[in-house]
Subunit: 413 residues, 2 copies
């Protein structure tokens, strides 16, 4: 079962719009057992659209097409489909009356452009679009199904969920595909691949492993294909257990969980609270923690101590510590965490002090250096980490490292 | 001048990762005058990659390729390029030593997989990647240039900015293209388009206007094409002056300037300092301000007052204010800003108090409501804004609104 996706629109090619439709459709088709072998984005240009359609012809079971169905003159998908399928536009009066109702509901007068949206290629089956004015269209030719939908994401999703996916699922009694995502933090892709070399080579033929790294976090995705759901699920679960046994120190969660989500769950479960005292991360840790809905239950606040005077006056870092060891040091990070925990009266406090760059580095403390401390009733732990040269990347890396150190402390608490 | 983009990676096809690289590269290539006629995403699969390469061969001047250069076994772009260009992998010792330095800097041991990242196809020119371990590769065959880069966005962007775009611009000098970006904040795209309808229809034939909206900020891009640089520059400058005269209240900067960059420049120029007191924005304003290099000159720090106790104890918000008006109110926001300014002894202080959602809204104060205050020597100004239902979007919108209020106060100072 193969599928291809074609997205049409000048805005995609000149980078004005990021093509989020393809990822959404790709995920849905994969879940239904299709191998999406190709995504193509082309201009609102006749020859480019025809080329993309021809290329998919005969090679795939299903082609999903979005875009180019708007009412303005740059939208030419419908005419081009007529040419490709050797048919012509006819007025569909059912669609026309749907559009009339929709327009009057929104208090917009009908014009010629709206009326032309009710014209469809004669040979297609119309997919009625309750979410917008452009209908979807279903074509079949030489055992390939072509489905054209509007490019507006919520209209495309409406048609996919209500009409397209149910029919595709019914017609293609499919292979079963199961994905499992294991979230890891704390190492490089290459090191992880080394550690997992035996695991990977020992995987059953029908289970594949993929590494999906994104700014410090590496998602490990196991994809299994088979004909029997429960059997496949057992097989995958067995491999997941093996993964947990092989790299327990790196796995922090599953599916799309972020470190801040996992920390939130842990703090809620243990009924604990946390604050942050950030220097070089400048509020990013706080931002990550508070991006989780409901975080006000366990997160009390933060002191962003960008200047040394804030470190001494609010967090109680002693002057001699700053003078003797510098603001970027183990001692300062520890005192910041302890000071923040006392100030806010919480169970945990995280602190960071480092050099995000691009300036401010020395030979002993290059750009990318950070000390991270976590204070709790049981004392204060501190880690030194060294990352790269890019300011924004460093701020992210420092923040994730701090969240992970906190996570480990909460688990052991 | 035609260009094609090929992005490689299973994660793109199954919708696990949205392909943001293509949009970024498409925008950059367009600015350089290329017609990006096609974006193709394919699996980490030999035959699919070869097919995509063959398809572009001879039809285009430049093919940009990202992805599949990681150290793990699912990454097969390099071997496949060898096959396509009829060459083989050789060790590049310069790249190897760069990787060694990078790994030792991060205190990670080298392994075979890292070493293999230094192997490159013999017939390519290596593009040294200071942002990561996978080098870029430049090939030429039958008057088409093929450039392969890592899929990690910041590594791809590093190679594009430092090496690829400068060389492409030098080799494909055709028409002169001048872009000017005018950054606006404070209105909707559709409203701006209404206001600018006359301006747009009065533009000379060779100057185009594009609206590029991104989370609250709308970038207006004027693109002029011509054969004579100074004449074109004068023509564009004249239109830019017209824009400033038409929408002075919305323009805050030019080119890729963010609100936080403009605020930094203003504070530096006026030798003033700022702090933040954030509730619902949870550190995002602080994060934005400190993402600007050198911000420690004018930014002192922040109190993230997520819980009410922090508002009263650290910021001096009076208990009766919280009881009488609630923590999400004009009075609370004002007291937070005044309190933060006193605590840190700075010229300006910004505060936010609102409901980011998804829960916590009431009929009087629905999710998306925020009060923003800016305190200075001249007193305290406060604005109420109401945005939507999405937590993450709200946090961003609240933060930009706060930065813009601060900007206006600094300008009038």
């Amino acid at each position: 079962m193969k599928a291809a996706i074609i997205t049409i629109g000048d805005e995609l090619l000149i980078g004005q719009t990021i093509d989020t439709n393809s990822a959404w459709m790709g995920a849905e088709l994969s879940k239904s057992g299709f191998d999406v072998y190709r995504i193509t984005s082309v201009h609102d240009r006749r020859e480019d659209i025809i080329y993309a359609l021809n290329e998919a012809a005969g090679k795939t079971d299903v082609v999903l097409i979005t875009g180019g169905l708007g009412p303005t003159s740059d939208d030419i998908t419908k005419q081009t489909l007529c040419e490709f399928f050797n048919t012509h536009l006819v007025m569909n009066y059912e669609v026309l009356s749907m559009i009339e109702v929709m327009m009057s509901h929104r208090n917009f007068p009908m014009n010629d452009k709206n009326r032309r949206q009710a014209e469809v290629p004669e040979s297609c089956r119309v997919l009625k679009n309750a979410a917008g004015t452009a209908p979807g269209m279903w074509f079949e030719k030489n055992s390939t199904i072509y489905i054209s939908m509007p490019g507006v994401p919520h209209e495309m999703k409406y048609l996919m969920k209500e009409l397209v996916l149910p029919e595709l699922n019914q017609r293609f009694t499919s292979q079963i595909i199961i994905h499992r995502n294991i979230m890891t933090y704390g190492t490089f892709e290459s090191k992880l691949a080394d550690i997992l070399a035996d695991f990977e080579s020992g995987l059953p033929e029908n289970i594949k492993l993929a590494y999906l790294p994104a700014s410090g976090v590496i998602k490990l995705r196991l994809t299994g294909t088979g004909s029997e759901h429960d059997h496949l699920l057992n097989l995958i679960n067995e491999q997941v257990r093996k993964l947990y046994a092989t790299i327990p120190e790196f796995i922090y969660g599953e599916d799309e969980e972020s470190l801040e989500m996992v920390i939130g769950k842990l703090l809620m479960a243990k009924n604990k609270t946390v604050v942050t005292a950030e220097s070089c991360t400048g509020g990013e840790i706080s931002h990550l923690i508070t991006s989780v809905p409901g975080s006000s239950v366990y997160y009390k606040g933060s002191v962003i101590a960008y200047s040394n005077s804030v470190k001494t006056q609010l967090l109680g870092v002693q002057d001699y510590i700053l003078t003797r060891y510098g603001s970027v040091s183990e001692n300062t990070a520890k005192e910041m965490a302890v000071g923040a925990r006392n100030l806010f009266n919480t169970d945990f406090a995280i602190s960071t002090s480092g050099i995000a760059g691009p300036d401010g580095g020395t030979e002993a403390k290059p750009v990318g250096t950070v000390w991270i401390a976590v204070a709790s009733e049981r004392g204060t732990v501190c880690e030194k980490r060294v990352f790269g040269n890019d300011r924004i990347t460093n701020i992210t890396r420092f923040s994730l490292a701090a969240l992970n150190l906190l996570r480990k402390q909460i688990i052991n608490y």
